[in-house]
């Protein structure tokens, strides 16, 4: 029809493109071979620069070529005046910029750029900073550029204030940016150090940062970057694990501990002043004529009044958000952590309810939440035990999935772990050197590797668990005082000759239930 524009068909276009590509490939391969020949011949001349330039501008990720280029540049540098060297490297910077346009995430390019700047007699850091800003405005998560920028900032001595403003700007344009938040967390302690702990941030600035984080997570509570930053803010000074416990078996000079009294109080000097700890010394047994003492120190960092009122306010903010977003996992988890920092026992019930919601809204991580919940429950039980000053530790029916802080249960004589969801007694269980009675009925325990060399263990009850093989019980043989063992309701009873095998394995056990 008249007036219609005739256009090449797709096949024609394809064919043309294919030919074009073939031509390019040929040129590339022959240039590459030429360069590699030159390098092996040890030629370091201008021509080498030109050839590598051609190749790198179409493929900036060819690391060998960058290496060769560095060799050539170092060679040329020796025979030139300072001005000329400056020019040589400046043109190199221009060239790298062109390569970065081809691939802004080329390892080779960025590395070469850092190197050129170290060789440059008078590096222009302002220009480099500008380049980084441009790159980051195109892709704010280009970590190559972030890395390079760190080098530039360090070399050019940009002030911390300016850098903080830089993060302000980046976070303002898009707050889903870990890099900026993280950078901020490194800048703040430098700019607003706390008077005593220089690696922390002063309270006044902290309040501003809390506000910034609130703005972010109220705007988008599903964005994790702000939550992580917030956790970092809260975490400064509040150890999420509230126990700082040290248990040590040590040699004491003979005679320093009387054998009559089995408990001595010791004064321990701590290098960190702001934590309050109770110390007690318990004597262990005499072994090989040495007095062995076990020093157990339990304590928890007490929150300062100001700190706790700040955290209280933060808890309120988070609760406010939770009212609006009852299903938000980040909010739930942060609330749990805040509650633990403030009053772990007082908030226990709420914490458990929040864990339940968390498991429902985030089923992918339900095991993580269960383990975390177990940890908190154990911590709470330890706290209670501490207050009551008893040696009996009961954790039955708490839905525990894992055991932790066993190192702090060194002095426990009776432990009850019945009706949980434990799968094993981990090797750390061997820390319970004073343990005499273990009840662990109604779990799903398969492995007993932690019941090993427990010198005072007399009675073990493992009813209704998943112990299948005789070999699983072998570690019990190392517990020399074990006399009572209850294995009812375990698959192991189906093993042939189980009675005789067991009495052979554990000759000291007198009361065995199968």
């Amino acid at each position: 029809m008249h007036g219609r524009v005739k256009v090449k068909s797709t096949a024609q276009q394809e064919e043309e493109k294919r030919k074009e590509r073939e031509k390019k490939l040929k040129a590339f391969v022959s240039a590459r071979d030429a360069v590699l020949r030159k390098r092996s011949a040890g030629e370091h001349d201008e021509e080498a620069l030109q050839l590598t330039q051609q190749l790198l501008s179409s493929n900036p990720d060819f690391a060998t070529l960058w290496n060769y280029r560095r060799e050539v540049l170092l060679q040329l540098e020796t025979s030139r005046e300072k001005d000329e060297v400056q020019k040589l490297y400046e043109s190199e910077l221009h060239f790298i910029e062109a390569c970065l346009k081809v691939n802004p995430k080329s390892y080779g390019c960025w590395h070469h750029r850092s190197w050129v700047n170290t060789r440059l007699p008078q590096p222009d850091w302002t220009r480099e900073l500008g380049l980084c800003d441009r790159c980051l405005s195109l892709d704010e998560r280009n970590f190559h550029c972030w890395d390079y920028r760190r080098v530039v900032v360090k070399e050019s001595g940009v002030s911390v204030e300016q850098e903080l403003q830089f993060t302000d700007r980046l976070i303002g344009s898009n707050f889903s940016n870990y890099s900026s938040w993280h950078y901020r967390s490194t800048l703040l302690p430098q700019l607003h150090p706390q008077p005593i702990h220089s690696h922390r941030v002063c309270e006044e600035q902290l309040l501003k940062e809390y506000e910034l984080a609130h703005n972010a997570f109220f705007t988008d509570p599903n964005d994790q970057s702000a939550w992580f930053y917030y956790r970092w803010l809260l975490g400064r000074g509040v150890c999420v694990c509230i126990f700082n416990c040290l248990c040590q078996l040590c040699d004491l000079p003979p005679g320093s501990v009387s054998d009559i009294s089995n408990e001595h109080n010791l004064t321990v000097h701590w290098t960190e002043k702001y934590t309050h700890r109770d110390c007690a010394l318990y004597t262990g047994e005499h072994r090989e004529r040495r007095s062995v003492a076990c020093v157990c120190v339990c304590g928890r960092s007490e929150l300062s009044v100001e700190k706790s009122s700040v955290l209280q306010a933060e808890l309120q903010s988070c609760n406010q958000l939770l009212e609006l977003e009852p299903q938000n996992k980040w909010c739930l988890l942060t609330i749990i952590l805040l509650m633990r920092a403030l009053d772990p026992l007082g908030h226990e019930k709420e914490t458990l309810a929040h864990f339940q919601t968390l498991k429902e809204v985030d089923p992918m991580r339900s095991s993580y939440y269960s383990d975390l919940c177990s940890k908190f429950l154990i911590e709470n039980t330890i706290l209670k035990m501490e207050y009551a000053e008893v040696r009996v530790f009961s954790l039955s029916n708490k839905n525990l999935t894992t055991l932790c802080h066993l190192d702090q249960l060194l002095l426990v004589t009776h432990i009850n772990l019945s009706s949980n969801q434990l799968l094993r007694l981990p090797p750390q269980f061997a820390m319970l050197q004073c343990l005499e009675v273990l009840e662990a009925d109604d779990n799903a325990i398969e492995s007993l590797e932690g019941l090993y060399h427990l010198p005072k263990l007399e009675e073990v009850s493992l009813r209704n668990n998943q112990i299948c093989k005789l070999s699983d019980l072998e570690s019990l043989a190392s517990c020399t005082k074990l006399t009572r063992l209850d294995l009812r309701g375990n698959p192991v009873h189906k093993t042939a000759n189980i009675d005789s095998e067991l009495s052979q394995l554990l000759p000291l056990v007198t009361a065995l239930s199968l």
Binding site: M1, G3, K8, F175, A216, L324
Partner: protein, 582 residues
Amino acid sequence: WQWLLVTMLSVCVHFPGLTESVIAAACSRVGQSVLHLDRRNYYAGNWASFTFNGLLSWIEEYKQKVQITESEQVWRSLIDEGEDVVPLSSVDSSISNLEVFCYARLALILLTTNTEHEVSEPEEEQHTSDISEPSQSQEEKDSQPISSPADPPVEVEKKITYQKLVKEGRRFNIDLVSKLMYSRGALVDLLIKSNVSRYAEFKNIGHILTCRNGKVEQVPCSRADVFASKQLTVVEKRMLMKFLTFCLDFEQHPEEYQDYTEKPFREFLKNKKLTENLQDFVLHSIAMVTQQTLTEEGLKATQHFLRCLGRYGNTPFLFPLYGLGEIPQCFCRMCAVFGGIYCLRHSVQCLVVDKASNKVKAVIDTRGQKISCSHFVVEDSYIRDEQRQSTAYRQISRAVLITDRSVLPSESDQQISLVTIPPLESSAPAVRMVELCSSSMTCMPGTYLVHLTCSSSGTAQEDLAPVVSELFHVSTIPGEEPSEVLWVMYFNMRDTSALDSSSYSLPSNVHVCTGPDGSLGSDCSIKLAESVFHHILPDEEFCPPAPNPEDIIYDGDGPQAEGPGFDESVNTEAEEEESNQE
């Protein structure tokens, strides 16, 4: 012009606005021969962009209202047996109530001293008087700051004078229609799809603002805005984000709004527990709907706004550099590249209708030529009242201001801002204001071009003057400090967008396109163009991508004529070349 007679036209497009240009380009692209006629000497009709001087002549023309004497005898002789005639209107009455005020001083005056070295021009040169109607000249003189030696030395500041505006007039591109392009609107999609976008450049709108209690402030509409907003409490931030997130896929959650489908959007917003603040933001600045708009429409509008965010920046809008008038011109260019023919200052007097089929078979132009065509596309303003079934127009009130400072000064003075101004009383219409900076290539450096638009309840001046005086400092008393507003023009434009083909009694192959509508986007015009195109050519694709120049195969006799430029001389040459090929 004799050659035109031998051309068998497929489509004749008359008075090309945006819709008509798109139809013309689409038809031409698929190989139809298209003749584009316009009685004016500029393109795009009411969609046109003018230089300041061009606008002054346009005002002039409006005042004179030139009547073209119709010579019925000329075309009578051209009508054959079995043909009927449908005359077209020759007077464009789509613009009314035009009024102009000038506040710029007539010459540069340094107020500090009376013996200034800069010579002020004599005062009698009040050229504004010759462009305004007599009834207005009094007002104008009042508003004209008089530079007399008695002026108190208020400030040492160089103000832009009227002379300067005229002298730099070519830097202005003043649109009669004020619209923005939604990043995911029908227009942007079409520009991309058809490759017409290569003919134009665009700038992102920088600020979305609103005016509350007389204060201009930023509307938090994107995630980053909400995060950075200082006016909202954190709970408001959450409520707003929650609501906006819901709007993004509101169709998935009908249970949330089904009880409100028959109720106004505002009530739904209240029910969603948005604070008064947030309701205003959403209703006026994000959805940009009225108090009466029903919930579903409001939700759709909000969704459209949100979907446009982030495609080209933090706001949902683009603006074409050199003004909105560029867009019809781009389509004209595409039409010309594919062989469309353009004639300015040339219009159609009447249509020749075949009585038997009741279809237009030809048109007779103002020079008495009969041009055959199989389809005729025309703008509504050319239709005489006899052919109308309904005359239910609406009107749009418009104001165009030249100012010398931004309504919300910020770090960058080169931002385009959209300001939505909620009505003062609930019955009044909301006013939409677009402030263009000089880097949008629509005004001279140091000035801002401000467009105000609302649906009319009275004349444009009645509707918009209160808003102008609320937002800008307009000096009323001579000798007071200089006005921010240098120049103002008010006018009403007819909005025929509510009309459709059933509103006219015309042959079926006459396609009437409505003029610009009052909405912010151009979706309405593009959708109309597409439906007219499919009516004309049901089996063809609407605006398929134009091929890249390197993929075009030229015939043995050398490359074809490039698309004609936009000035008339080149145009004629191209046309002649075209005709030689016939």
